[in-house]
């Protein structure tokens, strides 16, 4: 594996540089022992250097976050600015719409394996050189360059009740499906479209992973007469563990953070509120219902959810790293 080969070639050079720096610093300290001003400046230097970055993070990130969380404990409308304690959070817990939104986050997590398996399988076929693999390589990537709004608009037309998809189904004798109007189907439709629109990126990552695959292992498996299924299961998947984990993480982030455009264009959260996600709920309460404080509370909940998911993913990646 080339990855294994590269670190040794980098590390000695890097460690050498560190050594040089240490000796230089030692030398300078020796010279500047008497004037204490220099020592003080040197002690302060790292803080000064780090200060701008810390300030930017504190002022532009953490402080607004604190303000937002603080704001979520105040009321809306006539109660604007008055503390209401956990009122907003209790209202959220009571709101079936918000519960649906959180439930849909759970659904996204459950659908994650599908979203990873599709680009994985297609990349495998490309790697195994199925006829026309060069064409597929570019065709698969094409939707990834379209904006969610355009994708949504295209699929709105395609999946309309009297649209071409239903017409095609009708031609082969299947009843029309209300893709975006049936609350039991709509969320799957939107997730399906999202996967269609974004799997190209994961496919590229998988192909990059394949380029590190040891071809002799595949040849050995073939010589032993392994079937395609067995090659995938026993050779390809174990060799690509890290790539698969990376795709899992990025796909999860993509699903949780970039579905808004599609939802906005395709379903507006409907039908019957079945396709709400926390992001859309926050936008709806803040912009349409004029409930900024409630929206703040929902944002805080979403933040905590993302934090938990993020930490889980980090620990997963760490464990994977150790295994390697």
């Amino acid at each position: 594996m080339p990855v294994k080969g590269s670190p040794p070639s980098v590390r000695p050079a890097g460690s050498g540089r560190t050594d040089a720096a240490t000796t230089e610093r030692r030398g300078r300290r020796g010279n500047a022992r008497t004037p204490t001003r220099g020592a003080l400046a040197e002690r302060l230097a790292p803080y000064v250097l780090v200060a701008p970055a810390v300030l930017i993070i504190v002022v532009l990130r953490l402080w607004p976050l604190v303000l937002g969380v603080n704001f979520s404990f105040t009321g809306d409308g006539e109660l604007n600015g008055t503390p209401v304690g956990l009122g907003n959070y209790l209202e959220l817990a009571d709101d079936p719409l918000f519960r649906t939104a959180l439930g849909n986050v759970g659904l996204l997590v459950l659908l994650l394996p599908v979203a990873v398996a599709i680009p994985g399988l297609l990349a495998t076929f490309i790697y195994l050189r199925v006829p026309g693999n060069r064409v597929y390589r570019s065709v698969y990537f094409f939707p990834a360059v379209l904006s969610p709004v355009i994708v949504g608009a295209i699929f709105n037309l395609m999946l309309g009740y009297d649209g071409p998809v239903n017409a095609a189904l009708g031609a082969i004798g299947l009843g029309p499906v209300d893709w975006l109007g049936d609350p039991d189907i709509a969320m799957f439709t939107v997730v399906g479209v999202h996967i269609w629109a974004t799997f190209g990126m994961s496919l590229v990552v998988f192909l990059a992973g394949f380029s590190t695959l040891d071809a002799s292992l595949l040849d050995a498996a073939r010589v032993d007469g392994a079937s395609l299924g067995r090659v995938i299961w026993h050779v390809i998947i174990p060799s690509l563990t890290r790539t698969i984990q990376f795709v899992f993480v990025t796909t999860m982030i993509g699903m949780l953070t970039s579905m808004f455009g599609l939802l906005f264009v395709m379903t507006s959260g409907g039908p019957e509120g079945s396709t709400y996600l926390p992001e859309y709920y926050i936008w709806h309460e803040q912009g349409q219902m004029n409930r900024p404080a409630l929206a703040s509370a929902a944002s805080t909940v979403l933040f905590v959810v993302m934090l938990v998911v993020g930490l889980l993913q980090i620990s997963l990646l760490r464990r994977a790293g150790r295994q390697d």
Binding site: A45, V48, P183, T267, S268, P271, E272
Partner: protein, 426 residues
């Protein structure tokens, strides 16, 4: 030396960033005198960028410039999808436009905290303009109406002719409507109603468009006055008919996935449905339909009477109107701009170019065809639309529940009960 200079740059940058953070909290960082700031008024809306509204804005600007030379007016057209989100942010920070456009009803009532009562400034316009109620709260007026928005029932006269019905005599009762629709379906295959309920707006149009044919005048007035009796059989009937229309196949297929704005209007224009509860201004109105349906093929009918004692009337309110922000420096100046934006000349231009039914009752509409004539003559006896009286929270809920009624996953009883609870909670 070079490195030290770099540090200095970084330090300054860091300080500048912190400086900006705190500067946002001070009131007037620019140090300009209030007098100088007065020379400019900023208007937010979602209309001024539309070609159809160009002449209207021009006329209003000219009218204002004649009265206040030297004051510049800047129109900032925001995308409508994001309008109230952006406005909410401006209100939250207590800074923003001096004058802003609002939809009547819930959208403005929810935000009156940030607005200036206009009663003293617009007293002269009270009788000339119609539709003030939609912009009022607790007896005060917060915006001057530009257009009227309402829900006339349009019908396709060509389909009536094909079915052998008299296009000059649309059905007057619900039963007659069912008969006519059956005849039209048989002769042309067109459905009775064009219904788009993807956004949950279809039920609002339904409630207001048909409400005057279902509630008694007393019930209607009580509803508008805030005394809403959700247990009344007539209120229930609104939702029963909604469900009945779906169950009897009066609606086009896939109503829950068809957008009101603007897919459903195409269904009506192209003759796939005989009736539509449309709008009077903006879109989905007589001028909008005229591309496919010439004025002589488009009729306007009153709500069919569906229960005894009901007297049909045109449901309408102030559609859009300009309001003045509480934080504006010179309220008189901003209010004068609002008056220019509702001057007869400007509104006439808006009516002529955009086809909107303007709030000004003195505009002559005799040239525009029978549908417009039919609407305008009803304005005198018209009443505020039923759904406009509800809070945006209740309307939002009603949208979702109406979708459940169409799909059969909720009963009329459950729906009415939930709406009553939401309405009582305010």
């Amino acid at each position: 030396m070079r490195q030290q200079r770099w540090w200095a740059v970084l330090m300054v940058a860091g300080l500048a960033v912190t400086g900006c953070g705190s500067a946002a909290r001070t009131e007037s960082p620019s140090g300009e005198s209030p007098q100088k700031q007065q020379q400019k008024l900023v208007v937010w809306d979602w209309k001024s960028s539309e070609p159809a509204a160009a002449t209207y804005i021009e006329k209003a600007k000219a009218d204002f410039a004649a009265r206040h030379p030297g004051v510049t007016v800047e129109f900032v057209a925001q995308p409508f999808d994001q309008y109230y989100t952006l406005l909410g942010t401006a209100i939250q920070s207590g800074k923003g436009p001096d004058v802003m456009l609002f939809n009547g009803g819930g959208q403005i009532r929810d935000r009156t905290d940030a607005l200036l009562p206009l009663d003293q400034y617009v007293a002269e316009d009270k009788s000339r303009l119609a539709g003030w109620e939609a912009f009022g709260k607790d007896g005060k007026i917060y915006a001057a109406p530009v257009t009227l928005q309402g829900h006339p029932i349009y019908y396709n006269k060509a389909l009536y002719e094909k079915a052998g019905l008299d296009p000059a005599k649309p059905p007057a009762t619900w039963d007659e409507l069912l008969d006519s629709c059956a005849a039209i379906k048989k002769a042309t295959g067109a459905t009775c109603f064009a219904l788009g309920n993807k956004e949950g707006a279809g039920i609002q149009f339904w409630m207001s468009g048909l409400g005057s044919g279902i509630l008694t005048p007393q019930e209607y007035d009580d509803w508008i006055a805030g005394k809403r009796d959700w247990s009344s059989p007539h209120v229930r009937r609104i939702f029963e008919l909604w469900k009945e229309a779906q169950d009897k196949g009066l609606n086009n297929k896939g109503a829950n996935s068809t957008a009101m704005f603007t897919d459903i209007f195409t269904v009506f224009e192209t003759g796939k449905a005989a009736h539509i509860i449309g709008l009077m201004s903006d879109i989905g109105h007589w001028k909008d339909f005229s591309e496919f349906l010439p004025p002589d093929k488009l009729g306007v009918m009153q709500a069919p009477v569906a229960s005894e004692g009901a007297t049909p009337s045109l449901p309408y309110d102030g559609g859009i109107g300009y309001a003045v922000a509480k934080w504006t420096k010179d309220p008189q100046l901003a209010a004068d701009l609002v008056r220019s934006l509702t001057s007869t000349e400007a509104l006439t231009a808006f009516y002529a170019k955009a086809g909107a039914i303007a709030s000004d009752t003195t505009i002559d509409v005799s040239q525009a065809g029978p549908a417009v004539g039919g609407i305008v003559q009803e304005i005198k006896t018209g009443k505020p639309a039923l759904h406009v009286a509800l809070s945006s929270k209740t309307l939002d809920l009603m949208g979702r529940l109406s979708q459940q009624l169409l799909s059969g996953s909720a009963t009329v009883d459950e729906v009415v009960e939930q709406l009553a609870a939401s309405d009582r909670a305010g």
